[in-house]
């Protein structure tokens, strides 16, 4: 049972790290916090592998470490450190305090949702499952509440992490191939989004998502 408590505890840590990703005011910091979060995720995978005795998850955690802790943050750090929009500021629509409250509400909602689910495989890890769902929503919330397009990329990554965790929790014994697909998918998506963000900044000289409503052709 200790293993599962560890899993749930690490899942709680995930929420905190994702709040840090969302609320940090510079893309570079966000990238660092994202690396930290991914590290927590890898730890979560390891704990889950230990708890469920799933060999596949070891491989998952290894590949996740390479892609999520090293490659993606590196790409984003490299790409985004050159871009800054002084006029935009942090680009947050909600104040940090309200964001925390929102995150709490999201978690409560997700928990109440998950508590209604009766799956034999997920009985012990319901808090973690709730967190994984909430994580997905936090990613969406990041996209909605941040005007900075770079933050939207992070929002996407958070969603991706959330869904990744859900998959791991519910299908710990899924083949490695699935994880490889997800990981590469994430890398390519991030690369493409980084390129697009750079292009947008070079064209419009702004990172404000509100200015993008006039993009045409």
């Amino acid at each position: 049972m200790v293993g599962f408590q560890l899993i749930n505890g690490l899942a709680g840590l995930l929420i905190i790290t994702s709040l840090l990703v969302i609320l940090s005011d510079r893309p570079g910091n966000s990238a660092r916090f994202y690396a930290l979060q991914s590290l927590v995720l890898v730890a979560l995978f390891l704990a889950l592998a230990e708890a469920t005795d799933s060999h596949e998850l070891y491989l998952w955690s290894a590949s996740a470490f390479v892609t999520k802790v090293v490659l993606v943050p590196l790409i984003m750090y490299r790409a985004f450190s050159k871009l800054s929009d002084p006029k935009l500021g942090s680009g947050a629509v909600l104040s940090p305090a309200l964001s925390v409250v929102l995150a709490a509400l999201v978690v409560i909602l997700c928990y109440s949702v998950v508590s209604g689910v009766s799956l034999p495989a997920a009985a012990a890890i319901k808090p973690a499952l709730a967190v994984s769902l909430a994580h997905f929503f936090l990613g969406l919330a990041c996209i909605v509440t941040q005007r900075n397009i770079l933050k939207q990329v992070f929002g996407y990554c958070l969603m991706e992490n959330g869904s990744h965790l859900t998959l791991a929790l519910l299908a710990a014994k899924a083949p490695e191939l699935v994880e490889v697909g997800i990981a590469t998918d994430a890398i390519f998506a991030v690369v493409i989004m980084a390129v697009l963000g750079t292009k947008i900044f070079l064209t419009l000289h702004t990172l404000d998502a509100r200015q993008l409503t006039t993009l045409k052709g």
Partner: protein, 683 residues
């Protein structure tokens, strides 16, 4: 087996229907061809000419009676479609047809002036206007009479506003108002009669007996209603504005024919329809008084006009007055039970009706020709046109002589009969008649004198003297078809004057048939006799011979004495101007010519001002009513339609905000949808 032909050209009724059908088809074709001006003018004109010829063919044989009746089932039980071609209707149709024939010939060139302004529509309205006039005259059922009367008013309204400038539209509005006020009165009169007749057929009206106070009410309603259409004072106010606004060939028809339908209506109601319950003396006196007042005031107002078409329009008021004098004597004759006097008076009125139609049509066409070349209606800017437009000038001169009642032209003949009927009435009846008729004769004399003065002014200022026009060298004679139109009417003026011994018996026959009385002797050989040869005798052919002789005899004498017909050469020199060099400003102007009259009849012009003030108040009140209606009319819109429309637009705008293009907002929708789904799952 014999075939029954669909249209028999020997049957006046068939010809009449044929004429109407041609008019309607021509009008519609003209409207369809409106994209091509030249074709529209030609189609409308040729159809109009054909219809007019058919109309003449239908009406001339029917002049001597008996009445022909065409019946067809109407859409409602009370609305029998009955056309009755009695001698009076035939006379009116003959006049309409002759005038429209000439107007259509004239229009072939004249309407080109309006190219690009919708001549197709003009041809349509003109054709329908003429057809509706014919139908009004021939209709023998109150329902159809009102329908065609309205149609006539509407089509002519569209001709009045054809120019679509401010003056035309405002004149058209006034005309519309008066015409419809009149038709309401007429409708009321017919309703009362139908109540007693039990049918809307005029045939039933004729035999119905309307009791004493109501028959006068019916007559008054009809008199005022038709009087408004006829343009008698004080209901004339629309006439001097509407007639000048219309195109000239339409003015000729309106002034020449349409207002006669007002007189026709008065005769129809007062003599024909109320025949069984009529014969009230004061009706005739009322008509006489209105006639006398209209004739004097009409010519007095005409004298001070500078607008040539307004001048002619006021003369229409005057001549309607003269016609009403004759009709009034006719009705007095019925009232005092003297059929001979009645026939004589009505005959004088009808004769003047025909004559006025012809010379007023001629004068309006002449005015149209002048305006066609000079593009102004202001007589002060004309002058000297007899040199450049000889045919127009000559025709206008004939018309001017005729309307001024100069022998031996037609105007003189009918005015002579009017005088004679007034004189005859002055010897008979009650003291009221003996008092009224000489005064009327006196006023007629005054009218005649002023009319001469007015046309000396009109002809003189327009056609003689120096030219006051800005570009006198550009003015030339109008195209041939316009000249032909005018010359036909000028010839008609001469013929109706010289051939009076032939024409007068026909018209007195019509008057007698209308009155249901025995015919009277109005001509004997080349002599014209007002029923009684001891009263007076006149012979226009002899006067003509005398006048020609007076001009030719001196020449013959000269040739007999000196052996040569050559006259000494004329001196062509400038007129003497008290030693100064003569110039255009020295010649008599319309304003200067009329100034003494303006001073002499000052109070009468004040009368006009007060009449105009009353009418402007009526118009103003009506306009206020319209503006009130305009304000209250959108209430429903504001209460029902607008909120719905605005709601749709506003919600559309709100929905547009949903699709703002900001992808973050779209993500929010995804979140919201997911949250909702999750909440639903939890439940």
């Amino acid at each position: 087996m014999t075939m029954i032909p669909l249209v028999s050209l020997h049957d006046p009724l068939h010809l009449l229907l044929l004429s109407l059908a041609i008019s309607v088809c021509g009008g519609v074709a003209s409207l369809l061809l409106r994209a091509c001006d030249g074709a529209a003018i030609r189609v409308a004109g040729l159809a109009g000419i054909a219809a007019a010829v058919a109309g003449l063919g239908a009406s001339l044989p029917a002049l001597s009676g008996p009445a022909l009746v065409f019946e067809a089932a109407g859409p409602y039980p009370f609305a029998h479609f009955v056309l009755r071609l009695d001698p009076l209707a035939a006379l009116l149709i003959a006049v309409i047809s002759l005038l429209s024939l000439v107007a259509w010939i004239y229009s072939l060139a004249y309407v080109r002036e309006y190219a690009g302004k919708g001549v197709g529509a003009m041809g349509f309205f003109m054709n329908l206007f003429i057809a509706s006039m014919v139908l009004v005259v021939a209709a023998d059922n109150a329902f159809w009479f009102i329908i065609f009367f309205e149609m006539m008013s509407l089509t002519s309204y569209f001709l009045v506003i054809f120019d679509q400038d401010e003056e035309a539209v405002s004149a058209g509005f006034l005309y519309f108002l008066v015409a419809h006020a009149g038709s309401v009165l007429i409708m009321a009169a017919f309703f009362i009669m139908a109540n007693y007749a039990g049918s809307y057929d005029f045939a039933a009206f004729r035999t119905a007996s309307v009791p004493a106070p109501l028959n006068s009410v019916v007559f008054l309603l009809g008199f005022l209603g038709f009087g408004a259409k006829a343009g008698m004072i004080p209901l004339h106010i629309w006439l001097p504005r509407a007639h000048p606004a219309a195109p000239s060939h339409a003015s000729a028809l309106m002034s020449g024919v349409m207002i006669k339908i007002g007189v026709f209506g008065i005769v129809k109601v007062g003599i024909d329809l109320l025949g069984a319950s009529g014969g009230v003396l004061w009706w005739g006196l009322l008509v006489l008084v209105f006639g006398a007042v209209s004739s004097v005031l009409g010519v007095v107002y005409a004298l001070v006009e500078h607008d040539i078409k307004k001048l002619l329009a006021y003369h229409s008021v005057e001549n309607i007055g003269i016609i009403l004098l004759g009709v009034g004597v006719g009705m007095i004759g019925i009232g005092i039970g003297q059929p001979i006097l009645a026939v004589l008076g009505l005959m004088a009125g009808l004769y003047h009706l025909v004559n006025h139609a012809i010379f007023k049509g001629l004068l309006f066409l002449g005015a149209g020709s002048v305006i066609y070349r000079l593009h102004t209606k202001d007589m002060e800017k004309m002058g000297g046109l007899a040199r450049t437009m000889p045919w127009t000038a000559f025709s206008f001169l004939i018309g001017a002589l005729a309307i001024s009642a100069i022998p031996p032209l037609n105007g003189f003949v009918s005015e002579w009969y009017t005088y004679q009927s007034l004189f005859a009435a002055a010897f008979s009846g009650s003291w009221l008649v003996k008092l009224a008729t000489p005064i009327a004769a006196m006023l007629l004399a005054l009218t005649g004198a002023l009319a001469v003065m007015c046309f000396v002014k009109a002809y003189g200022v327009i056609f003689s003297g120096p030219s006051r026009h800005a570009h006198p060298d550009d003015v030339r004679e109008v195209p041939a078809t316009m000249v032909i139109g005018m010359v036909i009417l000028a010839i008609a003026c001469v013929v109706l004057g010289l051939a009076a011994p032939v024409v007068a018996p026909v018209i007195s026959g019509i008057a007698a048939a209308t009155l249901g009385a025995a015919t009277i002797t109005v001509a004997d050989g080349v002599l014209l006799i007002p029923a009684d040869a001891h009263q007076a005798v006149l012979s226009t052919p002899l006067i003509a011979v005398m006048l020609i002789g007076a001009a030719v005899l001196p020449l013959l004498l000269k040739s007999a004495l000196s052996g040569s017909l050559r006259l000494p050469a004329r001196q062509a020199a400038a007129p003497w101007a008290a030693g100064y060099l003569p110039d255009a400003h020295m010649s008599a102007t319309a304003g200067g010519f009329a100034q003494p009259i303006r001073m002499f009849f000052g109070p009468l012009y004040e009368v006009r001002k007060s009449i105009a003030a009353v009418w402007s108040k009526v118009t103003f009140g009506f306009e206020r009513f319209i503006s009130f209606a305009r304000r209250s009319e959108p209430c429903w819109d504001r209460a029902l339609v607008d909120p719905v429309g605005e709601g749709v637009v506003a919600s559309g705008r709100r929905l547009q905000a949903i699709q703002g293009g900001d992808f973050r907002v779209y993500c929010l929708y995804i979140v919201a949808a997911l949250v909702i789904l999750l909440v639903l799952t939890v439940r």
